[in-house]
């Protein structure tokens, strides 16, 4: 797009780049917000269906406009800042969460070459940005100056840091197999596994890591069954307790944008990203972005399914799973994968 503005329209390179990047950001962020609104609706519908309820069905046809009605409602609410809170940080925290949820999408490839920032440390960028996400929650908990948000912040800090370790090792296994940190290169490396499937997840060696990644992603985004940070039976609403109006909406949007991102990463790292699931020529007629969205939606369905059916973990169980099960398992898998890779090189 930079080339288009530079040569066809005739703008100077710097300005063309700037314009192209801004348009790229808008092209990702605006549909993403729409997707988040619809996915909240889908989440509630799936959850309701599994509980044999109807779910939102009043606003618009089939209740499709429910999320927009909710959005309008919170938009018209008064922003209440508690008197004893640390005002600057209190208002900064949701902005951090929301921003971090959006910036990671810059490196997700939607098609060959259709990516906002095709950097060669793409996956490290994802890790770096997602490790920032914890600040939004810690700051919210501390700045609210209220005990339930604070408990929630402490839980969130330990939980997110713990599962990030497992995610890091899973990512290392994938990176070793693909030989690159660039997400596009990782997707391309998954093409034609065994000659007919696209995706590392079909490889029995890497499949366990796909499972570990999926569960860690649940913990990282604080979805059920790991939603201890907003366990309503213990902590009211966790770190969001003191928030209202748009600040609350930013958490809501950021949380679902993060969930979508984790689904996208799962699809990209293990299930072929924008490639069709099978390496069969007619399937490539369908644009890659459709395949990616189909995979994202499938994993989102899995997330909702888990949310509807699995009871919440206890905190010590959560920590045990992170440190005593996933960490050794994923660490062992790093050794295993590198060992297998070395063995494969012996013949060459």
């Amino acid at each position: 797009m930079t080339a288009f503005f530079n040569t066809t329209v005739g703008l100077p390179y710097g300005f063309a780049w700037f314009l192209a990047t801004i348009i790229g950001i808008l092209l990702i962020a605006l549909p993403l917000m729409l997707a988040v609104a619809m996915i909240i609706y889908a989440d509630r519908k799936i959850w309701a269906a599994m509980a044999l309820r109807r779910g939102p069905n009043v606003v618009g046809p089939f209740g499709l406009l429910q999320s927009f009605a909710d959005g309008l409602k919170v938009f018209l609410q008064e922003t209440i800042v508690p008197a004893a809170s640390n005002k600057a940080l209190f208002l900064l925290a949701p902005i951090i969460t929301f921003t971090v949820a959006l910036i990671v999408w810059a490196v997700v490839p939607f098609q060959v070459g259709v990516v906002l920032a095709d950097i060669n440390v793409g996956l490290l960028y994802v890790l770096a940005a997602s490790s920032l996400g914890v600040y939004g929650i810690i700051l919210a908990g501390w700045a609210s100056n209220s005990k339930y948000p604070f408990f929630s912040a402490i839980r969130a800090a330990a939980q997110m840091v713990s599962y990030e370790v497992a995610i890091g090792f899973v990512i290392i296994s994938v990176v070793m197999w693909a030989g690159s940190f660039n997400l596009t290169a990782i997707v391309e490396a998954q093409k034609g596994l065994y000659g007919f499937v696209n995706g590392f997840g079909f490889n029995p060696l890497l499949f366990p890591m796909a499972v570990v990644f999926l569960i860690s992603a649940l913990a990282e985004t604080q979805r059920a069954p790991f939603d201890l940070t907003e366990a309503e039976s213990e902590l009211v609403a966790g770190y969001q307790t003191e928030y209202s109006s748009m600040a609350f909406a930013l958490y809501w949007l950021g949380e679902y944008a993060n969930v979508l991102l984790m689904c996208a990463l799962n699809a990209t790292l293990f299930w072929g990203g924008y490639l069709p699931p099978f390496d069969w020529a007619p399937l490539y007629v369908v644009p890659g972005i459709i395949w990616l969205f189909a995979k994202i939606l499938f994993f989102f369905f899995v997330f909702s399914w888990i949310k509807a059916t699995v009871p919440r973990y206890r905190y010590d169980q959560l920590m045990r799973l992170g440190w005593k099960v996933f960490l050794p398992l994923s660490l062992f898998w790093v050794f295993l994968v590198s060992g297998v890779l070395m063995l494969m090189r012996v013949g060459v």
Binding site: G14, N86, L89, I119, N120, V121, L124, Y125, L127, A128, A129, S131, L132, V134, Y135, I138, L139, W142, F150, A153, I154, A157, V161, E164, F181, D316, R320
Partner: protein
Amino acid sequence: MIQAIAFYLFAAVVLISGAMTISSRNPVHSVLWLILAFFNAAGLMVLVGAEFIAMLLVIVYVGAVAVLFLFVVMMLDIDFAELRAGFVRYFGIGLVLAVALVCEILIGVFAWSAGGIDLARRAAPSEATVPNIVQIGNLLYSRYLFVFEGAGLVLLVAMIGAIVLTHRERSGARYQNIARQIARRPQDATRNMKPDVGQGVQL
């Protein structure tokens, strides 16, 4: 042009947030300013083309170390009057340290303006086309293998040391044994009895 703007932006924010780190009253704010400084230092790294180091800086320092700092500092109960009393006491030592640091910076600036280090004669000259993850990897696993393994060993020792120092066996604490819970069957734990009326059961 844009590089210059980005450089001065990042550098200015690093300096300002560094100053705010030591001058802000609230320790939590201090840690947050420190995080901002780390983050902008990562920006500077990106500008010099060391994107790998930049990402590591964010992942390790911002994502892990600073979270732990924040975690600890948030729970501290700090008495500001006591802190200010300490200020007078440690003023002398602090001044000496500050002067030493300023001298070092000045020496560095003079040495650099006297010619600097020839980048082409570095131990490992970098090529612009190879991504720097690959370059660092090649060097770490060939030329600096033993130093790298040594660093790994030091980290391992530090890790084990930290666990040994903080781990304490609490007597009387009851731990959940998950394997035992799963292995437990209804027939081990329950008995079906048909006691006669007025007899009760023996446990």
